[in-house]
Amino acid sequence: MLDSKKKNRVKTITFFGLLLVILTGLSVALSGYAGKHSELVKDRNRALTGLGEEPDHTIDLLVIGDSECYTTVSPMDLWKDHGITAYLGGQSGQKIQESYYMLKTALETQKPKLVMMETNVLYRSADKPDALQDILYEAGQHYFPVFRYHDMWKTLLPGTKAGETDYKGYVPRTNVQPYTGNRSYMARTEEAVPVRGKTVHYYMDEILRICREEGIAFMLYSGPSPVNYNYKKHNGLAAYAKEQKIPYLDLNLKQKELGIDWQMDTVDKGDHLNLTGARKVTRYLGNYLKENYELPDHREEQSYREWNAEADRFFAAIGQTKETKGLPATDPDR
């Protein structure tokens, strides 16, 4: 009787052990395939595979956040003007746990000098059961990438379309839908919308802990967006940054310096910036970063010549848009 019990226990453990081995094997195989064919990876996963494709320890600036992150910074402009190697680890609707795993994934192969986080993600917290569900889901995907890339098999079939071309996580979007709302959306007030939610605080603490332990500088920034920001949020974020002793740059308060024109620089009525808006922000941000952080200029280094080639492709592509409309006029939240 005891023997049969023992036997059953061994069988159960072997069954689940083998299952783990199979899932791990598939994870390795699929992540490898996804890494080699990032053009076939679905949009939200692209930043992860793209990061994995970068040569080790070459990214100095990692930017994380939701669509506000990947529509406000143009890494190729940062490269051209300052020789900063930046990568956008942004995903549409990124949740804080996704930001955390984006950072963890990046740190597997990179050692950035600075991590910038776009703050919109701090206001995206779910209800308790949903948050727990998201945590489980993200953790599962991180440790078993087979769940993330599970439908890569589809790309083996003929007729699979490649996605949009991105430049270190940035997709130039050229369409214009002017913002016609309140120009003074950042009118001063004493009220504040605090950063709330246990999930947000827990993962922010983890992100800050990792950065501290790895000796990585960390800063928060808010991209210009009348749809997503106001002074109440600014107050909440400034208070949070002060409490955590981290720098916070609110670009919504720098519109004059940036030269943002809400008639021309937004892709979707003030929610996100288009190419011209992102380049204006990047110009300002480049100078800010040079003044405040020691980010090396790699432009003359031989090992970074692929960056020059990618910059050429980027500028050729955005040059083309004027004549051929070759660039996607897409929804940034895709």
């Binding site: 059953n8 069988k11 069954f15 083998l18 299952l19 199979i22 899932l23 598939l26 679905k42 949009d43 939200r44 996963n45 308790k128 059961p129 727990l132 569900q133 489980l136 889901y137 599962g140 995907q141 087979v146 769940f147 993330r148 599970h150 439908d151 098999w153 589809k154 079939l157 007729g159």
Partner: protein, 512 residues
Amino acid sequence: MAYHTGMYLFLFLPAVLLLYQAAPARHRWKVLLLAGYVFFYLVSGKLLLYLLGTTLFTHYIGLRLEALQSAGRGKKEQKRVLAFGICVLLAVLGYLKYYNFFAENLNKAVVHFGGGPLLAARHLLLPIGISFYTLQAIGYMADIYWKKIPAGQPLGKVALFLGFFPQIMEGPISMYGQTADQLWQGRDIRREDLSRGWLRIVWGLFKKMVVADRLYVLVQNVFSQHSRYSGVIVAVAAVAYTVQLYMEFSGCMDIVTGSARMFGVTLPENFRQPFVSRSAAEFWRRWHITLGVWLKTYVFYPVSASGLVKRWNRFARKHCGKYAARLGVSALALFPVWLCNGLWHGPRWSYIFYGMYYFVILLLEMAFEPVGEKIRTLLGLKADAWQIRAVQIFRTWLVVFTGELFFRADGLRTGIEMFRSIFRGFSLVPLWDGSLCMLGLDLADYLVVFAGCLAVGAAGFFKERQTDISVRLENTKLPVRWACYYALILAVVLFGAYGIGYQKVDLIYAGF
């Protein structure tokens, strides 16, 4: 926290299993009851009070009925208590679920006749599973009245019967005699229960995640922009929705039944290969079985045995003959059944139409049965000939697909428009000219759906011949068995419609 989510499958269910097994047998029902209330609270929050209230009230009515019975009081008084109990439960359900529908239609009628709106719309929150646990509660009270349940049922047992967590969201609607004792026993968790339970859960996940959630995209595209489509595309959408609904609901039932099985509880089955039905009546004996059984037991039989129906039967037999009498009796008894069926699904005219649609179809089936028999005899075919079976099954499919088109459409008017649009410029060409790949699914998706349906169909084929594949698998050699288990798990992992590029699909029946 739906049944197919990681939170339920990897956190909640294992935690309850552990606590259940760790608790002494006499306290295990408390673990299940607490788990039920936690589950309910996680989904519906404070609306848990409705379930608690229903439980206390149902138990109280049961006690009152027992007291009257033991005191030898007349049937009339018992009937009054039972009617009061049923009315209160239906009033709560009716108010929460149908008030706004009633108010909207009443206002429309009053405005039509020149008056002003009488009732304002209210923001009413519906507790999860109210349509399911209310029916179980009514069944409990009726069973006490009919003395099907022994007297002196403890409150905890009734509470657990109404609040067993796997059943809360989507049923199956069980009778007290089917589950209460099993839940109350608190027997040890056994290896074979665990092993059969998890396999059933994975099978349910396969149906839901691989087939149903994939088809959701196509269905959503066509039904939400129905004016853009016509002809065979609308017909395809109706078929796709029927398959989606079956895979989702029966898949969820597999997860639910598998979960209960892990605790050694056998829940009543809700599906039995409905797509091999030879008539709409048979279809409803195989589809959402527990709702059908409930309506038959607590609506059809009482109405059939009522004085009105008996009088009509006597009158009709005398004046109109057996055939008309049978039809008349059926119509009288079936009408409330199908009205309840339609209304139960929700406060929409399209659901009421759906109920009435089956009412008419069932009566037509009965009315034309002799004609069908004559045609069959003329053709010299046996009742069980494959040609007859094929025609009958195909006819049932047409009835079912049409019914589901109206069921899914956003309103009765939309349903009628969509149905009519099928015949507008009908052509089969869109089936192969690439139009199907413009509906949100690509060729790979269609292949997966096809293979998934084939797998489910094959399992159903064997089950129809009294061969349960899962039981057969248990008797095969270990490497073959494990290979099949791994194949099923990996099919869910690799072909499941989840993650980036797919939408989270809520359980359809949880909304009823």
